[in-house]
Symmetry: C2
């Protein structure tokens, strides 16, 4: 594996290309792939990124395998402005994300003196070597938190190494929001929707006529099964609110009167 540039500070997201900044998530854990635990962090992250105007393009869930983690961190961090990992950062043998990320970036794993001090304070005389493993970080990592009361998140340049336990993951969102806002011009996505009492087969020609005129608006069609027939939710998403509303209204104009359930 060729060495990756040593992480320094965050570059402006817009340096990496035009369009909205992009993100990927790498979720680590055998328990998710075996169906023993239901994944709960991707949705929370997705909503936060959406609010920031960051486009999440890919999520990969892998097993607790340090080589696989290293390969994915390397590949996903190169292809996206931000990478967020979830899981595998505790002290036990199946916690391999810190080591995997360090390998991906070609840096050693070191003890953060800040984290080690906090662990020693917290556990007092009961602090073990295993507890102190929670102070291990890839060399060059920054610690991010919005308050000293919280355990900080680990960030290595544009890659965040986050805990898998959902309660702990959620607590890192404010620090992510604060830091990403510093690097990214705030430009949240705008969403509108129309709910229609028609199935997709009937709707398709009407949708197509709007899709062809609004290439800059992402138009989605989501059927639902309801007791008294079809119900389809049509969504309109983009960065330019005027265009998003124009696309929504263009569809409303071509729908048969009386079949519209709601316009959002």
């Amino acid at each position: 594996m060729a060495p990756f540039p040593t992480p320094t500070d965050i570059r402006s997201a817009t340096e990496l290309g035009s369009g909205p900044p992009t993100a990927a998530a790498l979720v680590v854990g055998d328990e998710l792939l075996s169906g023993k635990v239901r994944e709960a962090n991707v949705e929370v992250l997705a909503r936060a990124l959406r609010e920031l105007g960051v486009l999440m393009r890919r999520v990969v869930i892998v097993m607790d395998d340090v080589n696989v983690i290293a390969e994915e961190v390397r590949s996903l961090s190169c292809g996206h402005d931000w990478l967020f990992t979830s899981g595998g950062i505790g002290p036990t043998h199946d916690d391999l994300t810190i080591e995997g990320a360090a390998r991906a970036f070609g840096v050693p794993v070191v003890t953060s003196s800040v984290l080690a001090d906090r662990l020693r304070k917290h556990y007092g005389s009961e602090c073990t070597e295993a507890h102190l493993r929670m102070a291990l970080v890839p060399s060059g990592a920054a610690l991010e938190s919005v308050s000293d009361a919280h355990w900080p998140a680990i960030r290595l340049n544009r890659t965040w190494l986050l805990p898998g336990v959902p309660e702990a993951f959620r607590m890192k969102i404010p620090a992510i929001m604060a830091r990403v806002r510093l690097a990214t011009p705030a430009c949240p996505f705008v969403s509108h929707a129309v709910h229609v009492r028609l199935d997709e087969g009937r709707l398709k020609p009407m949708i197509d006529s709007v899709v062809s005129r609004f290439r800059d608006v992402a138009i989605g069609s989501y059927p639902r099964w309801v007791e008294d027939g079809a119900l389809t939710k049509l969504t309109f998403d983009g960065l330019d609110e005027t265009r998003v509303i124009e696309a929504r209204d263009a569809l409303v104009d071509v729908l048969p009167p009386g079949e519209i359930d709601a316009v959002e």
Copy 2:
């Protein structure tokens, strides 16, 4: 993209290597990556595969992009015994999985006369060209169902193209179970667990002593935050029940008496 061998019949999973047969899932949908909809099919699939003794090794969630879908189908179907896609198989412009899978395998998209007949019967005089798009399949695909009452699942050799709507996805599980059982020797995973009132930092040396002796058992450690302190769930998974139970009992033997909450 080099052409992929034309799909014929299913080879025995064990032809592809030793160990349990493996699977991957490709989940398609902008709505999942934007946090508008919570993914609900991976867990259902994971549980079914576990019951079949199939190891799900990777899940990838991507946007509605035909090139990305084609590339992922190609890559995931090569690296795993089974691939299951979820989403993007309806009639609208954002339904691109049939086309993506066809490109991945180098086959054309064709109309299934069986599915077209069923659609014409169902919709009668209201059947549109758009409805008939739901009869499109990659050439060479098989239709799988356990009963004529159900809409069949589309299978192209070892790749299943499944709907994203959770109710529809769930209805395909019996057909998957039946077909995978035909190709795979039934050898379900065995799981046991110990719940301990100790944190991972305290537990680590005890866990490590068992991990080193039971390399054939996957041992997982999952902390939970509870009001009156730490609670850790230790899981023991494998194909050989005797070894799994031996590993669990070996851990129970080294735990401090009185700290065990439950043994499963």
